[in-house]
């Protein structure tokens, strides 16, 4: 029966061999070897344009719950989650500064300074809180401060609000007028055009203007902004050598605490404005194999209707006690999500979508990063 022994040994060997090898990470390199990520947009992509002066003093700079690991997650903004996924260094703000009105805020202004190639730096995130698509004056800009109107006082912080159009122009001016094929370029804007146009609508109606005409004007203005953003992407980004461009449309702003607070009619108007922007943006983008369009609008609605599937418990209550999350930290959270003990992470905040009335928690940003990652993977870039 010698042959039988040989067989037994072979079987045993096969089983033994099979037992080798645990569960491994596998190849974690993205399919495209990106060397940098260049971001244009507003507060939703801002990683610290205003983390200076009065804002830095409060531990702020991100439009979310500030502080590395504040909620136990590794990153705060979606561009940070995404760059880590792409095996890139953490993004940093290409331009910082604050036009703070010292008489109001009590802290001095901080001059605008570039940290990109123009000053020998490596920062390529040009997104700034308050930035609009084209108009240089967005929410938080000191030019909107009016000493006789208390509701404008928050603008004394003096955000630079360099619009997307100028952000792209600055990049091109500082980088030889070209994008490269190993860059991932992200564009995500439009929210501040909503807020400014809603304010204009309210002012018009408040002054006795025709609500219908004012609403039409607001929706028309958003379509215009969407068309302009598409134009900049076509003519300034795609036409200047970018081969990996991600465009994120506006999430459904009508689902934010900001819009919910304005009632059903306000929500309806904001939804119309958001849709007008998104359809103009998508409709005017040049068809290109170098472009990935991420539908954050559909995703945000899905998150609100299927909260549990996304690990969310609350999509309507801001976690921060401060009106702007720019200076929110784990020490300024509502009781429901405050850290269990001093020094602990505010992990309960990871079940909330919103940090303030419009900005996501770090977890909310992570969901956006997952959505973008999924689209990049489907495209074959990740």
């Amino acid at each position: 029966m010698k042959k039988f022994h040989v067989l037994t040994t072979a079987l045993a060997a096969a089983v033994f061999l099979a037992g080798c090898g645990g569960n491994e990470a596998g190849n974690q390199k993205p399919r495209v070897a990106f060397t940098s990520m260049v971001s244009f947009g507003d507060s939703l992509s801002d990683v610290g344009s205003y983390a200076v002066g009065a804002v830095a003093a409060q531990g702020g700079g991100h439009y979310s719950i500030n502080g590395i690991g504040a909620t136990g997650l590794l990153w705060t903004n979606w561009t940070e989650f995404l760059s880590a996924t792409l095996d890139l260094a953490a993004p940093c703000a290409a331009e910082t500064g604050l036009n703070t009105i010292q008489a109001v805020v009590g802290a001095p202004p901080v001059p605008a300074t570039f940290h990109d190639a123009s000053t020998g730096g490596t920062c390529t995130n040009y997104a700034q809180g308050g930035a609009r698509v084209t108009n240089p004056v967005g929410p938080g800009n000191a030019l909107l401060f009016n000493a006789s109107v208390p509701s404008t006082y928050s603008n004394a912080i003096g955000q630079l609000t360099v619009p997307v159009q100028t952000q792209i122009a600055n990049y091109l001016a500082h980088n030889g007028g070209k994008f490269t094929s190993d860059q991932l370029v992200t564009v995500f804007a439009g929210g501040n055009d909503i807020f400014i146009n809603v304010a204009t609508f309210q002012a018009t109606v408040g002054a006795g203007g025709d609500p219908t005409a004012a609403a039409t004007a607001a929706v028309t203005a958003m379509a215009q902004a969407g068309t302009e953003e598409a134009g900049y992407i076509n003519a300034q980004i795609l036409a200047n050598g970018a081969t990996h461009v991600v465009v994120v449309n506006l999430p459904d702003v009508s689902l934010t605490p900001f819009a919910i607070g304005s009632g059903a009619s306000g929500q309806a108007l904001v939804k119309s404005m958001t849709q007008a922007f998104n359809s103009a943006l998508q409709g005017n983008l040049t068809a290109s194999a170098n472009l990935v369009f991420v539908d954050a609008f559909a995703a945000s609605e899905d998150q609100a209707t299927h909260m549990a599937q996304y690990g969310l418990d609350n999509v309507t209550t801001p976690t921060c006690t401060s009106s702007s999350s720019l200076v929110c930290t784990k020490n300024t959270l509502i009781g429901a999500v405050a850290p269990a003990a001093s020094g602990a992470a505010a992990t309960a905040a990871n079940t909330y979508e919103y940090a303030d009335s419009v900005h996501p928690t770090p977890y909310g940003y992570r969901l956006l990063a997952e959505l973008v990652s999924e689209q990049l993977a489907i495209k074959g870039w990740l």
Binding site: K3, F4, L7, A10, L11, A14, V15, L17, A18, G19, C20, G21, G22, N23, E24, A25, G26, N27, Q28, K29, P30, R31, L73, L74, W75, E80, F81, L82, S83, A84, T85, D87, D302, H306, A308, Q309, Y310, G311, L312, R366, L367, A369, E370, L371, S373, E374, L376, A377, I378, G380, L382
Partner: protein
């Protein structure tokens, strides 16, 4: 009657080889086989549990490997056969709402199976069709993740890994052997296994998958 003509041809071949008919698949015989087996999972997976993109499902692709068996003829018609072999490496791809992300990982498995078989026709018949049924023990191990898997489950975080369970299933078999000579025979079989498993990600999400693979194999056997 095509099978019959194939059988006839094989018998003719056997005759050419000068084989006798003394030894066949008769009570007390021990047979071993070595061949190639292809496993084709017919996957239906549940949605990946929260937190995840709704509708994320997976498919598990086919894999092939060398396999071997050892059988013992309990009677002239009843036999017991053990199926073992080298590990199979299956690619895992995203489907459902993550359709298009492509390969998100891979996993190895071995699935030793013990079949109770009934072999038709007489022990010295050159052609022995058979049916079989028995348990399959599937052992999933040695998985690999990917950048895409990490990106859609924990972007920017540590790599996501995939864990598989060990599972017990049931296998049915349709097979036949054709005698070449006194010792050697060729064999082919189709097997259907009924088995489920649960894939667990290191990020906490799970998906239950009905695998129910169909396997086809061809082998060369030797009767002692």
């Amino acid at each position: 009657m095509k099978k019959h003509s194939i059988a006839t041809a094989l018998v003719a071949t056997a005759a050419l080889c000068g084989a006798g008919a003394a030894h066949a698949q008769a009570a007390g015989d021990v047979m071993v086989k070595l061949g190639w087996n292809k496993i084709m999972p017919k996957v239906r997976s549940t949605e990946l549990s929260a937190p995840s993109l709704p509708g994320s499902t997976i498919d598990i692709k086919s894999a092939s490997a060398l396999f071997f068996t050892a059988a013992y003829m309990v009677t002239d018609n009843a036999s017991v056969e053990f199926l073992g072999g080298l590990p199979y490496k299956h690619d895992i791809i995203g489907t459902g709402s993550v359709q298009g992300v492509g390969k998100i990982g891979s996993i190895h498995q071995i699935s030793p199976t013990l079949l109770m078989q009934y072999r038709f026709l007489s022990p010295d018949s050159p052609f022995r069709p058979r049916i079989g049924v028995g348990p399959t023990f599937a052992w999933f191990y040695g998985s690999k993740g990917s950048a895409a898997l990490t990106a859609v489950t924990n972007p920017g975080g540590p790599p996501t890994t995939i864990g598989g369970d060990t599972e017990l299933g049931a296998t049915t078999e349709l097979g036949a052997s054709f005698k070449i000579n006194k010792h050697w025979f060729v064999d082919a079989a189709v097997l259907k296994t009924f088995i489920n498993t649960e894939a667990k990600l290191s990020t906490g999400q799970r998906t239950r998958a009905r695998l129910n693979p169909v396997a086809v194999n061809a082998s060369i056997g030797y009767t002692f």
